[in-house]
Symmetry: C2
Subunit: 329 residues, 2 copies
């Protein structure tokens, strides 16, 4: 099968919202009046971001999910995406499964595939996603990394650390019971982007980021963008682990679990800040989007990120942040 047949069979669908979809030199998008276009691009490489034997259905899902997560962190409504795909060979069963996972998530978010590229090469997936953010009178309602203020609360959506636990187990670095491995693996391979929460937080959150490289590292980006610091409560953070550590046998060291939560990466939750006066509004946004959120700390004037215990005493922070040039899958 050639490049054009492959696109025709697995990736070409009639344009719905786009003015022109797959099949010309460019796609054409209409951007609503008074809207800004939010754009994000992520590249997933085999052996780096996923294992060679990963289920192609979940890979198709995840490739788009990590991009939708960036839209969520900006409070942007998904609109469309392009897909560039390097494939070592044409494997029709793989392509059918990959496109099924991809389109299931795309359809759930009304996000339409409008173009892209296919070529032969080491398995690599690059998606660029487009969303809309209202900018009435030219004033953008996008959630940025900058914008947080001293005294703002710090929140995280959902749970953290499961993806890292699954990764460590798949690498053979620890053992998880079968049920727990299946549960955490789903988080690693099939993350659910927090699009609804991002939209609900427009006008409420002062800053936001998606937790892709680990909570501490990603929160660090927010602090640097705002030139501020933070105290993060380890007791609150400990509650963010989705699985019950008591079900892990042999038991894992508390430090390993904490490292998964604070520096695990691949969580695709939202970390965000909001003034203390907005606690009711944050709770309402969480409720409206059916997304649990946990308050984990406070923005401070003193630069740097400090971990504190329940009594406000600082504890050691030896957790690394994820860097795609420092670590492997």
């Amino acid at each position: 099968m050639g490049e054009f047949d492959l696109i025709e069979r697995y990736f070409k669908r009639p344009a719905r919202r786009a003015a022109l979809g797959v099949g010309d030199d460019c796609a054409l998008l209409r951007v609503g009046s008074g809207q800004q276009l939010a754009v994000s691009s992520d590249m997933l490489v085999q052996g780096r971001h996923f294992f060679a034997d990963v289920d192609p259905v979940t890979l198709g899902h995840k490739a788009l999910a990590v991009n939708l997560s960036d839209l969520a962190a900006c409070g942007a409504a998904p609109l469309a995406f392009t897909l560039a795909l390097a494939l070592p060979r044409v494997d029709e069963a793989w392509l059918a499964a990959f496109s099924r996972g991809l389109f299931a998530l795309a359809d759930a978010h009304g996000c339409e595939l409008v173009g892209g590229d296919t070529t032969r090469g080491p398995l690599t997936i690059c998606i660029t996603v487009f969303g809309e953010v209202p900018a009435p009178g030219g004033v953008s309602q996008a959630l940025l990394r900058s914008g947080t203020r001293v005294g703002d609360d710090i929140y995280v959506s959902g749970t953290l650390g499961d993806a890292r636990l699954a990764l460590l187990a798949l690498r053979g670095e620890l053992r998880l019971p079968d049920g727990l491995l299946a549960q955490t693996r789903l988080r690693l391979e099939c993350p659910m982007p927090r699009v609804a929460l991002g939209l609900a937080l427009r006008g409420i959150a002062s800053a936001a980021i998606d937790v892709s490289d680990g909570l501490l590292g990603d929160l660090g980006h927010v602090l640097r963008a705002s030139q501020l610091g933070a105290a993060v409560d380890t007791d609150s953070v400990r509650q963010l682990l989705a699985c019950d550590p008591l079900t892990i046998n042999p038991p894992l060291p508390a430090q390993t679990l904490m490292a998964c939560v604070l520096a695990g990466g691949d969580d695709y939750e939202l970390a965000f800040t909001a003034p203390a006066s907005a606690r009711g509004a944050v709770a309402a946004a969480a409720h409206a989007s059916a997304t649990p959120v946990t308050r984990i700390g406070q923005i401070q004037a003193q630069p740097g990120l400090r971990l504190v215990d329940g009594n406000g005493n600082q504890v050691a922070n030896g957790f690394p942040s994820f860097d795609h040039f420092a670590q492997d899958t």
Copy 2:
């Protein structure tokens, strides 16, 4: 050097036209009122689209050029782009040279880098480019592959076949004199996208495509999109070779030269159609954009693409089109 330092040092520049550039979860673009956004994405893979030892300055240029060429084929004005880059290692000299070539072309077209991704992996470059096309009253002025009519003239900009000659020489399949190799290699490695011509052809051309996979194959896309056929004059086409075949010693078979012109690929010229009544307007657009164009044939009702000689007699067409799953660099 980590991922974030790398982006900071080589790819982050202050946003000019974009509302928000590199450094947040998403970039934010303003799309002008009454404009549609044209989007295209291309992925270049080492060993497939370029040799491992290619000059990184020209590689940075070409990675963006092939995308700008898609905008040109739509008559879109360049606006911005994202860059996703998988690198086997952090090589600062390589990155400095790559970004120099990239930004030189970007600046020449006022096209701004607004975001992207970097990761470790086999050298792969994925650029998604954004342009604007006026759509007054919702009616797009974009040049599409569809839209051509029976009787329309067929044109090609510039010259064809040089890139393929260089590729064959670099692969050792033929020998070129040093001067000619340098000249044709420049076309292969440093193509100049026909952005100005694309803009000048708005409202004049009935259909357009960029010649990336070979003239016959790309013209075939236009014909299929319009469900029409064409007669292409081999005498006119023969004039499209930039180099003088008499300077090639030992001489190349005429069939090899013709194959380079008709099916070579990597030319990044524009092929377009326009009504015979627009010949003056096409000449004026070519003049205004300082781009030579050659009339090479005519659209016909009978489907299929026929090669004819100067007397209108059909000649054999045994030239393949380029397919990224069928051929190697």
